[in-house]
């Protein structure tokens, strides 16, 4: 066994982390509320975990490991109810969305723990600018080799996840023109990007111990990659998603990742190749900038298509897998309806156009998250 044991987990099991915004209900700016909120949350009132994040204006909800979308969404709903009950008691608003539309980054306060204070000291303004809100999706893997394969192959689909989840069109009171402006913030960190082109877990361990030897990283936590293996959980983690405006969308994205993983794992449609990374950054940029209308270049055949077209082309390949996992309707709705239904970034822009007020946009975001349609 090497330096970095990969804990085997139930293949295709599913878990989600969601970073959420805490705002006041007067002007809907981000507010200092995490410690108060966590103090009020009823312990044992729900499964999963609600944790502090780097600033006081953010909490993270993380679920248990689930086999199916149905169970995942049931847990997410229970957690949401607990968080919403606590927030209402404190008159706080909780919202999804990858960025807060008008917060000024210098107003943010670092949540008082040793790790967060260390990061704030190391990264300076980047740490405060990192007040962005993402969804992480974990997919269980039998072993490290499988995790390495999935990590590489998911990179082909990263633009899908970016475009589908994009909900950060506004930052610092401006329309960024991006659908997901959040991901550009991540780029500034030295250990962001993608996993190097290792072929199996042994190679990955060798890479990791070299980086450790340089003193660059201490643990996997220090890599801010778009997709990364998570050996201590036994998962592959997709980290490019903005936190969507609703739990249903968050769960649908997870279901898509699960179906895709099943397709890749069982059918092994392609071998890992460095072509994947030739087009990666351009595709990623396009997806951040233009969302579902972005033009994509296929790394394997050089074909070009818009993201929403590529989603429609992808669905038939994974439909049977989604069927077996019991989440076909959800995945079908997400992929096939992408063009007409659009993403949350589009909805946020519509909202802003109607109201011309970012405070109103955030209030609406809170409604989307806190009062789902029955």
């Amino acid at each position: 066994m090497g330096e970095l044991p990969f804990k085997s987990s139930q293949p295709l099991s599913l878990g989600v982390e969601l970073e959420l915004q805490i705002v006041n209900t007067r002007d809907y700016n981000l507010t200092r509320g995490a410690s108060d909120l966590l103090g009020v949350l009823v312990k044992g009132g729900h499964t999963g975990e609600v944790k502090p994040e780097i600033t006081e204006s953010m909490v993270e909800m993380s679920t248990l490991v689930h086999e199916s979308h149905v169970k995942l969404i049931a847990e997410l709903r229970a957690m949401r109810e607990a968080v919403v009950a606590a927030a209402r008691k404190l008159n706080l608003g909780i919202a999804g969305g990858g960025t807060h539309p008008f917060q000024k980054w210098n107003d943010r306060r670092i949540y008082d723990t040793e790790r967060f204070n260390h990061l704030a000291g190391l990264y300076g303004y980047l740490a405060k600018q990192f007040t962005v809100f993402g969804q992480h999706i974990h997919i269980g893997c039998a072993d490290g080799d499988e995790a390495v394969y999935l990590t590489h192959m998911f990179s082909r689909y990263v633009p899908h996840f970016i475009a589908l989840s994009a909900s950060s069109p506004f930052q610092q009171g401006e329309d960024t023109l991006f659908d997901s402006s959040r991901l550009s913030v991540v780029n500034a960190f030295p250990l962001s990007g993608t996993m190097p082109l290792v072929r199996n877990w042994a190679e990955f361990e060798a890479y990791f111990s070299r980086m450790q030897g340089f003193g660059i990283v201490k643990s996997m936590k220090d890599f801010y990659w778009d997709v990364r293996p998570k050996p201590e959980f036994g998962t592959v983690e997709i980290r490019v998603c903005d936190t969507p405006l609703s739990i249903d969308r968050a769960a649908a994205l997870a279901a898509y990742a699960q179906s895709l993983a099943r397709y890749l794992r069982l059918e092994r449609p392609r071998a890992v190749s460095d072509d994947l990374y030739l087009v990666y950054n351009v595709n990623r940029f396009q997806a951040c900038r233009y969302g579902l209308d972005a033009g994509l270049i296929d790394p394997f055949d050089g074909g070009r298509a818009k993201v929403h077209e590529d989603l429609v082309a992808t669905f038939p390949r994974i439909a049977a897998h989604a069927e077996d996992l019991g989440c076909r309707p959800v995945v079908q709705g997400l992929l096939m309806g992408a063009r007409d239904f659009g993403n949350d970034a589009r909805r946020l822009r519509v909202r802003f156009k109607e109201t011309q007020s970012f405070a109103d946009v955030v209030r609406w975001q809170c409604e989307q998250w806190m009062q789902p349609p029955k």
Partner: protein, 406 residues
């Protein structure tokens, strides 16, 4: 024609604008000295500057100037009361009835203890003790709002301090208005006055607030959400409302509180952004505290130190117990509850206005009342801001200083 005709002739004529500038300058310097060198709240520095320039200090500001500048204080109190009213979030109170109970308990116990102390240890009659108790219910809105803004405080202690202040000010004004019939019974006046005066004050002030908020919302519907325009519009309507209240002999306090509260809670389409009076507001607030400092009656405080300190102490005790009773299950820790009570200690301008209003109607009654209440007001005007600042800092809700880099 003399050659130097363009020079001013002595003795130099006094000029209000110069004094206004001097006052502002002194306030700014006092505020920064307080904050940077003494780690005290800025507003304490403003008041200290006022005290130094005022009749009890170097007497650069005399009574005449004070009354001429009074209009600035009135305007800033109007702005503050409006913003305070805007803090009353009926939705939160509906969702958390405990919060409403906390407010009632805090007011009732604080006032109850003040009443009991005055009756038992200072042998005051029922009416005076009741009126004094009613006045001490109110926390100084100006102090709490300026301190939270200056510290950039955010969190439950801050939010609840602001809400409880808004509520206890409203309750104090209502209680004092309810006292009017008894005062008429005691002093003079036919039954029509007894019945109609408080009714006129209550209904009239409320109606004025309602009219102002309806007008605001109608104008906003037309203006749209351009937030920079909203501040100017609000200031205009607030000034008009203050003026109307004075002309109609209504209660400025009630009218402005009602205006703020109604404009928020009637705004179903969320047309009004959270009010932010920015730089304009700051200048008014600075003047308010400088003037408050200049009119501080230290002599009264000193002669009444025993009654003042006793009232301040039992008032705090009552408020603290009232808050702590409802802490369990209310979304706060005990420590936060105590700090909240501490944050509610300041008394100041609002109490003085309530005293003056009473005095103008019932001069004799008002004078005795002032001698009882004023020492506590002065004491808490000086110590209150420091305690509020301390409470918010201890609660961890003040904006941290920019971190020194390692």
């Amino acid at each position: 024609m003399p050659d130097l005709f363009f020079l001013p002739a002595g003795p130099l004529p006094p000029n209000q604008i110069i004094w206004f500038g001097v006052l502002l300058l002194a306030g700014v310097i006092g505020g920064e000295v307080a904050r940077r060198m003494l780690f005290l709240p800025r507003i304490t520095g403003y008041a200290a500057a006022g005290l130094a320039l005022g009749p009890e200090g170097f007497a650069l500001i005399d009574k005449g100037l004070l009354s001429e500048l009074r209009v600035f204080a009135d305007i800033s109190i109007g702005l503050i009361l409006f913003e305070l009213g805007h803090r009353i979030d009926l939705g939160w109170l509906k969702r958390s009835p405990r919060l409403a109970l906390t407010s009632l308990a805090e007011c009732a116990l604080g006032a109850g203890l003040v009443y009991f102390t005055l009756r038992t240890f200072f042998a005051l009659d029922i009416l005076h003790a009741f009126a004094a108790a009613a006045i001490t219910v109110a926390t100084s809105p100006a102090v709490v709002m300026r301190i939270t803004a200056d510290l950039g405080a955010e969190g439950q202690v801050t939010e609840r301090a602001l809400l409880l202040t808004a509520l206890n000010c409203s309750i104090a004004v209502l209680a004092l208005t309810a006292l009017i019939p008894w005062l008429y019974l005691e002093y003079r006046g036919g039954w029509q006055t007894i019945l109609l005066h408080p009714l006129y004050l209550l209904a009239g002030s409320f109606a004025l607030g309602l009219a102002a908020s309806t007008a605001t919302l109608a104008l906003l519907r037309w203006l749209g959400k351009r937030e920079e325009m909203q501040a100017a519009l609000l200031i205009a309507l607030i000034l008009a409302t203050i003026g109307a209240a004075i002309t109609l002999k209504l209660s400025v306090l009630l009218a402005l509180l009602a205006y703020g509260a109604l404009v928020r809670n009637l705004d179903r389409h969320y047309r009004l952004a959270a009010p932010d009076f920015g730089l304009t507001g700051q200048i008014f607030f600075l003047i308010l505290f400088v003037l408050a400092g200049a009119s501080l009656d230290l002599h009264a405080a000193w002669t009444g130190i025993v009654v003042g300190a006793s009232l301040a102490a039992v008032r705090f005790a009552g408020k603290a117990v009232g808050i702590l009773v409802f802490v369990p299950g209310g979304g706060m820790q005990v420590r936060q509850g105590l700090l909240l009570a501490l944050a509610l200690t300041p008394m100041s301008g609002l109490a003085v206005i309530m005293l003056q209003d009473t005095q103008s109607l019932f001069p004799d009654f008002g004078r005795t009342l002032a001698s009882v209440v004023l020492p506590a007001v002065v004491l808490l005007e000086i110590t209150g801001p420091i305690l509020t600042q301390l409470a918010l800092k201890l609660a961890g809700e003040a904006r941290p200083k920019p971190a020194a880099k390692s």
